[in-house]
């Protein structure tokens, strides 16, 4: 039975390979290692955010504010850099991650302490965070020449032939694998999402774990704030607008159950890569730009149907089971 679960990820991996091969038929350069690396590099931010989002979804929540969080931290980091170019970039990255953490914690506290559904909380904070970007920057951009050389160049510096940006995502993946398998907190997140009542009975505080998940998601969004702004060498209010849906789509394609408790790091990464390959392939194979949105929509729908089919339990109709344990 375990192999069934693994199969889904294998299936996705196979799908990605087939997709890449098909693109390779049209443009041979697509399959060059250097290009594949570039595709991975381009998907790094999506991967990192999707992993944060996965934790949140595991606890039966959703974080719609990641993109706004990224925009806000990115803007703050960029403004700091342009105002104080002498401050070391790692310190700025830290500041961004911390700010992201705080923004995530705000979401988490509202969910934990006030019990407001996550979708409502993050629907609200998503507008608030992005609004604050506007207030802070007064609508102005921070442009490439206002950023210090190191600020812009660090993510593209190559270590062992691989850009730092890609390395960061590799490290995040490794940490997440460890966290979700080997750490008490990580396992408790699964337990809390799988059955909140049971978790409570076993002394696991569901709300606190939701808080933890939001905090991590916020922290990663803060990290991505820097990565994004330096990658595109520009910060403005609309940075990453609408990106939260891509992030959620990556999780969903990767088999993370929106009902909580189910999902793996590898699935999530594959989901993000799948979108990454599509995003990078469509412009290359010269698909009309007007087709791109419909294609990615169709892909999401198909992936989700495929997931649902492989997840379907045999024999019984199992409707959504309400958490109706007596008190």
């Amino acid at each position: 039975m375990k192999t069934l679960l693994q199969n889904r990820e294998v299936l996705l991996a196979v799908l990605i390979v087939v997709l890449a091969l098909m693109v390779g038929l049209v443009t041979h350069d697509f399959l060059l290692p250097s290009n594949l690396l570039a595709v991975y590099n381009d998907t790094s931010i999506l991967i990192i955010l999707a992993l944060g989002q996965m934790l949140v979804i595991l606890t039966r929540c959703i974080d719609l504010s990641v993109a706004a969080n990224l925009a806000l931290t990115g803007m703050v980091v960029a403004m700091l850099n342009s105002a104080y170019p002498e401050v070391a970039v790692p310190l700025l990255v830290l500041a961004g991650a911390l700010l992201g953490l705080i923004l995530g914690m705000i979401n988490g506290v509202l969910v934990w302490k006030l019990g407001i559904p996550a979708i409502v909380v993050t629907l609200g904070t998503m507008s608030i965070y992005r609004g604050i970007v506007f207030l802070l920057s007064d609508g102005a951009w921070v442009n490439a020449h206002e950023m210090s050389g190191a600020f812009v160049s660090i993510p593209r510096t190559e270590l062992l032939g691989i850009p730092v940006l890609a390395w960061v995502s590799v490290i995040v993946i490794a940490v997440m694998v460890h966290f979700t398998r080997q750490r008490r907190l990580g396992r408790e997140i699964y337990a809390a999402g799988n059955n909140p009542t049971a978790a409570f009975y076993t002394g696991i505080q569901v709300g606190r774990l939701q808080f933890v998940a939001f905090s991590i998601s916020g922290l990663l969004a803060g990290l991505c704030g820097y990565l994004w702004v330096s990658r595109y060498a520009v910060a403005y209010v609309d940075v990453a607008a609408g990106f939260e849906l891509q992030v959620i789509a990556a999780c969903v394609i990767g088999g993370v159950s929106i009902m909580g408790g189910i999902g793996t790091v590898q699935g999530c990464v594959l989901g993000a890569l799948f979108l990454g390959v599509i995003n990078n392939a469509l412009p290359v194979i010269g698909v009309s730009p007007f087709w791109q949105m419909a294609i990615s929509g169709a892909v999401i729908v198909i992936a989700v149907i495929a997931n649902a089919k492989s997840e379907r339990k045999t024999g019984r109709i199992i409707l959504k089971k309400a958490a109706l344990q007596s008190h």
Binding site: W141, V234, A241, P289
Partner: protein, 307 residues
């Protein structure tokens, strides 16, 4: 009573329009009895602009000067504004003639098209090639002015046989998408020499992508952008030269035109633009402000601090 003019932009938080507002405020100060209300929606949608225009109508402003997100969708609401006695001017990005009295083009569209092609030709020469492929990176497929300019460019292109237009792609005015589209162009057209991006978001992202792909010197980015946003990329060498009209002057002129319309100081064929001079209106009520100005390493930093 002072003349109240609503200056409606495509969206707040875009450097170009912030600069235009500066010009508008300058005009208001110069006029003495004018007040400019600078406003716009959160994102570049027609519905958002309609909301904003609705509230300007409610405030009974004397004139509305709008850079439209949609040529047609704003027509009904602007007609209503006119019915309520409000003068309507469109500037930068126009509204269909039924919806406004005057349209102020930053420059003539054909001139902009020509300028872009000329810049591309210069960039091609800078690569040292005689002939080469060029591509266009636009904003959203629906942006009015971008589409008009691209059309104008295509009209001029036959005069430049050395330029071979291979693709037109759309970055939707999103940094990440524009970046990815540029990378796609570089990959799928190995002989590409020039990318023309007549959009300020696109040109920045394209320049960054060219730099990241290590193609500086082989491929140049040009088009329309702001000196402040492109100074860094001129320094890096990804951009040799680019053009833009002065957004401050544009905001200034749009305000002056609105004021003069309210005061009734205009004829069917001409309308004053203050210090800029007098605009000549064509049969459809459009005017052009000035020629786009070209920026390169010699002057970009001087202007980067202004807009």
């Amino acid at each position: 009573d002072s003349v109240r003019i609503g200056l409606v932009v495509k969206a707040l938080g875009i450097g170009f329009f912030e600069a235009a507002n500066e010009g508008a405020q300058e005009a208001a100060k110069e006029l003495g009895d004018a007040e400019v209300i600078y406003t716009g929606p959160t994102s570049t949608t027609a519905e958002g602009q309609i909301e904003v225009i609705n509230s300007l109508i409610a405030q009974k402003v004397d004139a509305i000067a709008v850079s439209a997100n949609d040529t047609d969708a704003l027509v009904p609401i602007l007609k209503k504004a006119q019915q309520r006695g409000i003068k309507v001017v469109s500037w930068d990005s126009g509204v269909a003639p039924e919806g406004r009295q005057v349209h102020l083009n930053p420059s003539s569209n054909s001139l902009i098209g020509e300028m872009n092609v000329k810049l591309a030709d210069e960039a091609l020469q800078a690569t040292g090639s005689e002939k080469g492929d060029i591509a266009i990176l636009s904003a959203t497929p629906t942006s009015t002015n971008q589409n008009i300019w691209i059309e104008e460019m295509k009209k001029v292109l036959p005069q430049y046989p050395q330029l071979n237009l291979v693709a037109t792609v759309y970055g939707d005015d999103l940094a990440d998408k524009s970046y990815r589209e540029t990378v796609g162009l570089l990959k799928s057209h190995p002989n590409l020499k020039v990318i023309v991006a007549p959009t300020s978001v696109g040109i920045v992202a394209a320049a960054q992508a060219v730099q990241d792909q290590g193609r500086i010197g082989e491929v140049f980015v040009t088009g329309l952008g702001l000196p402040s946003e492109l100074a860094g990329h001129v320094d890096s060498g990804a951009v040799k030269s680019f053009a833009i009209w002065n957004p401050i002057d544009l905001g200034y002129a749009a305000t002056m035109i609105s004021y003069n319309l309210v005061k009734g100081e205009s004829s069917d064929s001409a309308i004053g633009m203050g210090r800029i001079g007098t605009a000549t209106l064509d049969a459809e009520g459009s005017a052009a402000m000035a020629e786009p100005f070209v920026y390169n390493a010699s002057n970009v930093h001087a202007f980067a601090d202004i807009f």
